[in-house]
């Protein structure tokens, strides 16, 4: 299932310094890489920008060439109805199967759907996918992100 549903996410290490976010996004814009989803994690001194983009290989290579430290990781995406309880049903399923969520972020798609992106520990990745499917929820295939 992993091969079918793993979405490549890029994590980029950033110092908390003026202009760094601008630099990253400029590199991507110039390479015509489209950002489909993003989240920014921060500590006091540094941050990690997490991106799902339409062309992860290209994004990674242009960012590395520009001197950024980039790590590629697998995440998965779940589509839920954009209504109260949508996020809850996914989290509940994962919690019931003892799957820790490292972090998650989300965006709204169209009028009535939300896409939730989850990062779980690598060794629980397969188990998480199975739990989602067994719970009757809809996993989003990576082509949804890459195709545009």
């Amino acid at each position: 299932m992993r091969a079918k549903y793993a979405v490549k996410q890029l994590s980029i290490f950033l110092e908390n310094r003026k202009g760094r976010l601008k630099e990253v996004t400029k590199v991507l814009a110039e390479a015509e890489v489209n950002i489909r989803a993003l989240a920014l994690a921060e500590s006091a001194e540094f941050g990690i920008l997490r991106l799902v983009v339409d062309n992860p290989e290209k994004a990674r290579s242009v960012l590395s060439a520009a001197g950024f430290t980039v790590k590629e990781q697998d995440v998965f995406a779940v589509a839920v109805p954009d209504q109260p309880g949508g996020f809850y049903q996914v989290v509940r399923i994962l919690a019931e199967d003892d799957i820790n969520i490292d972090y998650t972020y989300a965006f709204v798609r169209g009028k009535d759907q939300a896409i939730l992106i989850f990062k779980v520990p690598d060794e629980l990745f397969e188990k998480a996918l199975e739990a989602i499917v067994k719970g009757g929820l809809h996993l989003v295939e990576p082509i949804f992100f890459y195709g545009h």
């Binding site: 994590s11 290490f13 950033l14 110092e15 760094r20 994690a41 921060e42 500590s43 001194e45 540094f46 990690i48 997490r50 001197g67 950024f68 430290t69 980039v70 790590k71 990781q73 490292d102």
Partner: protein, 436 residues
């Protein structure tokens, strides 16, 4: 001879004394220390050939690594049965440097400390608050025995517990303060915070400050904050500890040259430089028995002046130490080598990341920062892992350096961009500015 007279010998008498002592020490090291015999033999030098002070330039240098290579007692010129005291550097990477003293050496040390204290006419009735570290470090005990010998009452407070130190200084009516210059200023600032009136609540009149480089600004700040006369104490454990040189009331740093013969050499060619020129300071111990050392390279950059001083002393003066000829840093009185930092980084992550050591002043205290590049080998994409790495590095650095270092994780190429590729150390303290 009364030690009080030694600072006032004519140049002729001094040189005659030095020459006689040099001949003796050369004989001693040749016959008693295999390391020197081998070195002299390799250069074809017989000890008898060294007749005058002028001949000293033919002898080989001794460097810190030689002491490490002969750890612990390999360079001692007497059997251990004659050694009565051993001091050592912390030696966190590789071997520490170990120094041993015979009873006679301790007498010499006490004498030069007496001559140092005589600069401020310290004696009976004075209370010497000694906040140098007691232990393997030579600072604490060196000042301690000197102060006792001149008849002062010594308070062996050692380092730390600043508020308690202030209480003791006030209640015991300390007149003389001994510590690093940055700690003297720190004491002053804490005293102000605690509501003390530095002039009224304390009886200090002078201080002996050393073990770290101090800028003109820092000296002035210490003297003004406490309203005291500032005396500099210069020394290094390989030569004896504190007491190699001390500044007089005129502010001139006098070397006790009847015991420690100084030369200034070109740091690269090793050639002896004429009086007044700046170069690396080199010492030959003329009277030490336990660990006599020939032409020890201090790595300190300074100059020498032999004209008599306004204070009346005739012994040679050295200019302010203007820097170090190698990469050793002194941070809050603690020696730090970039190799120690590198060692820790390698140990913790099993790799050698790109790093830069940044030394700066925060207020009056030195702060040490280690900037480590986060590259693909270290970065897992996880923020917790980075925070753990930072914490672990800080812990390990504190253990290895005996000093707190702040670790800052930075993006690759930041270091090259901001400081030039090969530079491993950036010293932003005033010393650095003075050198430029």
């Amino acid at each position: 001879m009364d030690w009080r007279k030694k600072d006032y010998l004519t140049r002729e008498d001094m040189e005659a004394l030095q020459q006689k002592r040099l001949q003796e020490v050369v004989q001693r090291v040749y016959h008693l220390v295999p390391f020197y015999k081998e070195k002299f033999d390799a250069l074809g030098i017989k000890p008898e050939k060294i007749k005058s002070l002028e001949d000293l330039k033919h002898l080989p240098f001794t460097v810190k690594q030689d002491l490490r290579d002969h750890y612990p007692f390999g360079l001692f010129a007497v059997p251990l049965s004659q050694i009565v005291r051993i001091h050592s550097s912390s030696g966190t990477t590789g071997k520490p440097t170990v120094v041993g003293y015979t009873e006679h050496d301790l007498q010499v040390w006490t004498e030069v400390m007496c001559r140092s204290f005589a600069m401020a006419e310290v004696g009976p009735g004075d209370v010497v608050h000694n906040a140098y570290g007691y232990g393997l470090f030579t600072g604490g005990l060196g000042f301690h025995y000197g102060a006792e010998a001149v008849g002062a009452a010594v308070v062996p407070s050692s380092v730390g517990f600043t508020k308690r130190q202030l209480m003791l200084m006030k209640d015991f009516e300390a007149t003389i303060l001994c510590c690093t210059p940055s700690y003297a200023l720190h004491l002053a600032e804490v005293a102000k915070e605690e509501g003390f009136d530095l002039q009224k609540d304390f009886r200090l009149r002078a201080g002996f400050f050393g073990a770290e480089p101090a800028s003109e600004g820092l000296r002035k700040a210490v003297a003004e904050a406490w309203g005291i006369q500032y005396f500099e104490a210069y020394g290094l454990s390989e030569i004896i500890g504190p007491g190699v040189a001390a500044s007089c009331p005129e502010g001139e740093l006098h070397i006790f040259e009847d015991h420690f013969f100084p030369e200034i050499i070109h740091p690269e060619t090793g050639e002896v430089l004429p009086e007044g020129e700046e170069g690396e300071l080199v010492f030959t111990t003329l009277t030490k028995q336990g660990l006599p050392i020939i032409r020890y390279r201090t790595r300190d950059i300074a100059s020498l002046y032999r004209a008599p001083c306004k204070c009346g002393r005739t012994i040679v003066r050295m200019g302010q130490v203007r820097g170090r000829s190698d990469d050793m840093l002194i941070v809050s009185g603690v020696n730090v080598f970039p190799s120690q930092v590198e060692h820790v980084l390698t140990q913790v992550e099993g790799l050698t990341p790109n790093y830069v050591i940044v030394v700066d002043k925060r207020g009056v205290l030195d702060v040490l920062e280690v900037w480590v590049e986060v590259d693909e080998r270290v970065f897992t994409g996880d923020i917790g892992a980075l925070e753990n790495l930072k914490r672990k590095l800080e812990e390990e650095l504190a253990n290895a350096l005996f000093l707190r270092a702040r670790v800052k994780l930075v993006e690759p190429k930041t270091l090259e961009r901001s400081m030039g590729k090969a530079k491993r150390v950036v010293d932003r303290r005033e010393l650095e500015k003075n050198l430029k």
